[in-house]
């Protein structure tokens, strides 16, 4: 990799800083998110109010691009039903 390719972009540095702004002392990890992401997706589609558990899913999705990618794919499936 060339030195200029190693340098972090403003988006990458910005994402570190944003993640710090969203960091909480207690957070869901990916496994906990996976356990509850289905309920969060159904809440999103039906407008059902979110409780504390579901709010933790939302917070994890803001920090984890992989879980967010899977959540968006899940929404795609649910919308097709």
């Amino acid at each position: 990799m060339k030195p200029e390719d190693q340098r972090l972009s403003s988006e990458q540095v910005g994402s570190i800083v944003k993640m710090l702004g969203l960091t909480r002392d207690r957070e869901f990890n990916c496994s906990e998110c996976l356990q509850h992401v289905g309920e969060f997706a159904e809440c999103q589609l039906t407008g059902k109010p979110v409780d504390e558990v579901i709010a933790s899913v939302e917070q994890h999705l803001a920090l984890c691009p992989e879980c967010r990618e899977e959540f968006e794919a899940l929404l795609k499936i649910l919308k097709s039903e």
Partner: protein
């Protein structure tokens, strides 16, 4: 009977082998159809891949049946697991040649001003101060593994790949990254930069 009318947990646990077999086959079809929709248009994913992902997902779902709490529809819960299985595998293939040595060496460069220039977020004083404080926090507040894992995430290396390279578990690696973010936040706080400052600067 349509799949929305099935009591899935009961059917999948049925002691009658024929009844259980019907439910297992029906669930595999539901998962495979969902994956086909989710992965439609994604290059390199064939019908054979979908079959493999669905079969692996089915085994994962059956293994975790006791974890289903009924807070969503059963099929929604199972589809989330299937997507996790499929995306994990697809990401792994893309990054299979990355080595731990390369990841650790890349992580060590995170403290280099050439890697994170002072003005990367803009030349104004507040943002420059934030970047300098962040670089110092990365240098003094994180372990080499934390730096490597954080950079791996920024390079969009799949989390499972990072976990594997570090010889860790998913939970332990997530905790390590969570601890890293908390440590950085604390260091920034000590430098006079609060979470509210960050949120205001980025409209979070």
């Amino acid at each position: 009977m349509t799949h929305t009318e099935i009591n899935w947990p009961a059917a999948l646990r049925a002691t009658d082998a024929a009844e259980q077999g019907v439910a297992v086959r029906a669930l595999r079809d539901v998962l495979q159809n969902g994956l086909r929709i989710a992965l439609n248009g994604r290059g390199g994913v064939s019908e054979a891949h979908l079959e493999d992902f669905a079969q692996e997902s089915l085994l994962r779902v059956l293994d975790r049946l006791d974890q289903f709490q009924g807070r969503s529809k059963f099929t929604t819960w199972a589809q989330a697991i299937a997507l996790n299985v499929a995306f994990t595998e697809l990401r792994r293939k893309r990054w299979q040649d990355v080595s731990l040595d390369a990841l650790m060496a890349d992580g060590e460069r995170l403290t280099d001003p050439a890697m994170i220039p002072d003005d990367v977020l803009g030349a104004d004083e507040d943002r420059t101060r934030l970047v300098v404080a962040l670089r110092h926090a990365i240098e003094n507040g994180l372990t080499p593994k934390q730096r490597a894992a954080m950079l791996g995430e920024l390079r969009e290396i799949p989390f499972d790949q990072i976990v594997e390279l570090l010889g860790s578990s998913r939970s332990a690696a997530y905790k390590m990254l969570h601890d890293a973010r908390r440590a950085l936040k604390q260091r920034l706080h000590e430098a006079g930069i609060t979470g509210a400052d960050i949120q205001n600067a980025f409209n979070l």
